[in-house]
Symmetry: C2
């Protein structure tokens, strides 16, 4: 129990921004399974990876032994513009719920990209610049990652080419304009600029695109242009590594007030924000020093941890990326189109998957309408309008706080508030108008999708 | 000159949030002229004002003698959720400009309403609640004020009725949905719910509304419903009073590092954010203690300070509010529709007007395209996507920093970054596409509008 009076917002000093990322793989006895080259089914080498990824990032991807990786000074300088991020005591939410629980959230939305994605985007842009590259390519669906990468590339004066799923490009013009304001070239996918894009347009005239197609276009664009590499916003271990600034700052802020969390909650799509938040705590568990209850929250419409299988699978629907062993619903799985809340990825970070398989964390899936109800409740008392993704964590934090109300327990609940929902008002509108629907895939649908996983 | 190393962001402690607002009128030898009752042309009494406004707020409006007004604890508790706001050293912008100047900005966009408007919205909602009212009514154009008020009312469980100019209601559905998410009732104006609305709809079928009409509807709705009052987001002295938290925090942060500003810059629409930012500094000048260069920046398309006249005028185009003596372009003046950047108010806070008339501040008007160019430059290096309104201040801060580059002067430049531009992407898109136009009214247009000012 804390003895000092806890402020609404615990801010660290600028010199308390972590100077190293924490590589939780170093403390894992059961390491995540290696990425496999889809052509050979053998573990990817540095040579395999650096054709597509920046060399230093490929090294980080393969590094499962060094527990601490220095954060370069140029990245730290950028972090200073929007970090440390506050750890907020949700006094108003506690009062609203009338719970004895103490609720804290780490708020990563206080930057223009509106989310935690910037933590990795700036790192990836930096390593690309260091390597002397001209630019990077990527895909974006909802646009959070594309926005963050555009900002990062603008800062380092790198060319940024974003393949944006056509339906999002058309329906989310504001996301697109933010990226353009930061100087990115945003192309609706499938485009006529790549072979794969032209092929898809020929085969499916009028298609509005998919993430899988956009990935394929971005990878092709990276490999066909001199001085370009492809970058990704989640799933990969390098991304999770960069996101550990979230967890390290959270732990430092809690330690400052002698707060020991009982429950740590994060939303899980590709797993990088969750992994970044929990890494330092999972490390303590892995080293046998502490015990926490860690909960990953995923949408009921895309339940990779709770209903998927732990096997090797393609990372992308286009099947151009390495194979990863992960909890997956099958790379062809696409959540119902009425699912508005992000976290639509079919698989899960291999680090998070292994920790889950080893029992270090539990997982829950939640209904979309419940998520928006929690989001609205949170917004009305805490002020911040949360991203739908982040609101999955809010939902379970509220559930746990209500359990404490029943039992009278004064638990410390910490959750990650990964971003803001300014660009998600179409979904909020659906909810406000009572038009939002829930979706839960049948066992048959999942089984059919899983049947297409590669045999490795 | 500062001797301590200055961080990127100067954060005050929670207990350094101001506990009193500073009422600069108390230190003004030439007081702002009183509001006049439009029926009698006599100074408004408390009785006049409290029919429309909350009683405590009406008292604040009339109080030009008490220099310090206590901030109630409930408001302080809310402030703690998003204040203190950081004072940011724009290291990256300085580097980009290669200027010896030191540039600082007070960032008020780190809350869901996205702007400084919340500082006054929460105060006004509090006093309404204290008075036992059921709710408040207001108008909103672009939506910043309506959003802030919705959040504040949601916190205090007050009914909030927002009359939103119909064209904005239709073109800015996301702003509308944020307000609805916070529980506000948002009505496109002119509506069929008020007499004045029905009258206007009869006379001008198909009209898309105006701010003047929305004000008239909101005032009618407040006065015709038991337990309701009307609230306003700028112009009034009470609003400027609440916004002094901006200036007081700015001064405290500067003092902490022994920084003495040479130039203080704010954008000016109705004048409340500018007035709030400069009040503590203007107070020092009024008391003869210090001298600063203070610059108000307004759009060239709505140049009330630089080209208006200092006379009594209506505060609203509907002519239902009290008369105020202010720099005005005439209450019928409406900026060209291609003006996207906010700050469209025809007049100016009577406090700011009097300070300007007495030579305590200077004013500049700037072109819209120059403003967006400055906004883009700022965004690309400082990360934050600024609101078009705030970007007026950025433009002049950059101008001043470039002058320092010529002269070699190491001036300290402080400006107010009032908010973020997430909901202004239509304007950014116009700029990105090269379709943004500038507008400058002719002398004849302004003279014709001014000719309709009331004879007092």
């Amino acid at each position: 129990m804390a003895t000092k009076e806890i402020p609404y917002k615990i801010y660290l000093e600028e010199n308390e921004i972590p100077k190293q990322w924490y590589n939780v793989r170093a403390d894992m006895k059961n390491k995540p399974a290696p990425l496999l080259n889809p052509a050979t089914n053998k573990p990817c080498t540095l040579e395999d990876l650096e054709k597509v990824f920046c060399t230093e990032l490929a090294k980080q991807e393969l590094n499962d032994t060094d527990a601490w990786i220095d954060i370069p000074q140029e990245i730290l300088d950028f972090y200073k513009m929007y970090r440390p991020a506050p750890l907020v005591r949700a006094y108003c939410l506690e009062k609203e719920l009338d719970t004895p629980a103490h609720i804290y959230y780490k708020f990563e939305g206080n930057n223009t990209s509106g989310s935690h994605k910037l933590n990795s985007a700036i790192a990836q842009a930096y390593y690309a610049k260091q390597q002397g590259l001209k630019g990077v390519t990527t895909e974006t669906g909802a646009g959070q990652w594309g926005t963050a990468l555009s900002m990062a590339c603008s800062y380092f004066d790198l060319d940024c080419q974003v393949y944006m799923v056509k339906v999002s490009y058309e329906q989310k013009p504001f996301r697109r304009e933010v990226m353009r304001t930061y100087g990115a070239k945003v192309t609706p996918s499938p485009s006529m600029e790549t072979e794969v894009g032209r092929k898809i347009n020929r085969e499916f005239p009028g298609t509005t695109g998919s993430l899988g197609c956009a990935i394929s276009e971005a990878v092709e664009a990276a490999t066909k242009q001199e001085g370009y590499r492809y970058v990704l916003g989640s799933v990969l271990s390098q991304v999770l590594l960069h996101q550990t600034v979230i967890g390290l700052e959270t732990k430092a802020a809690l330690d400052k007030y002698d707060i020991v969390p009982d429950i740590i909650i994060g939303c899980a799509g590709g797993g990088s924000n969750l992994g970044g938040l929990i890494s330092p705590f999972a490390g303590e568990m892995l080293r046998g020093e502490k015990k926490y209850q860690i909960i990953a929250v995923e949408p009921m419409s895309c339940p990779s941890l709770t209903r998927g299988r732990y096997v090797y699978d393609f990372c992308d629907t286009g099947k151009v990326c390495p194979l990863a062993k992960m909890y997956t619903l099958g790379s062809g799985y696409i959540p119902a189109p009425n699912h508005a809340g992000g976290l639509r990825y079919h698989g899960m970070s291999s680090i998070v998957s292994q920790l889950y398989d080893d029992g270090y964390l539990e997982a829950r899936s939640v209904k979309q309408t419940d998520v928006f109800e929690a989001a609205q409740k949170f917004a009305r008392v805490e002020g911040i309008l949360p991203a739908p993704e982040s609101s999955h964590a809010i939902k379970v934090a509220i559930d746990e706080a209500m359990k404490c109300k029943e039992t009278g327990e004064e638990k410390n609940i910490v959750f990650g508030l990964t971003g803001t929902g300014y660009f998600d008002m179409v979904a909020y509108q659906k909810f406000n108008d009572g038009l939002m629907e829930d979706y839960c895939p049948t066992d048959e649908e999942i089984a059919a999708s899983l049947a297409k996983c590669p045999k490795v």
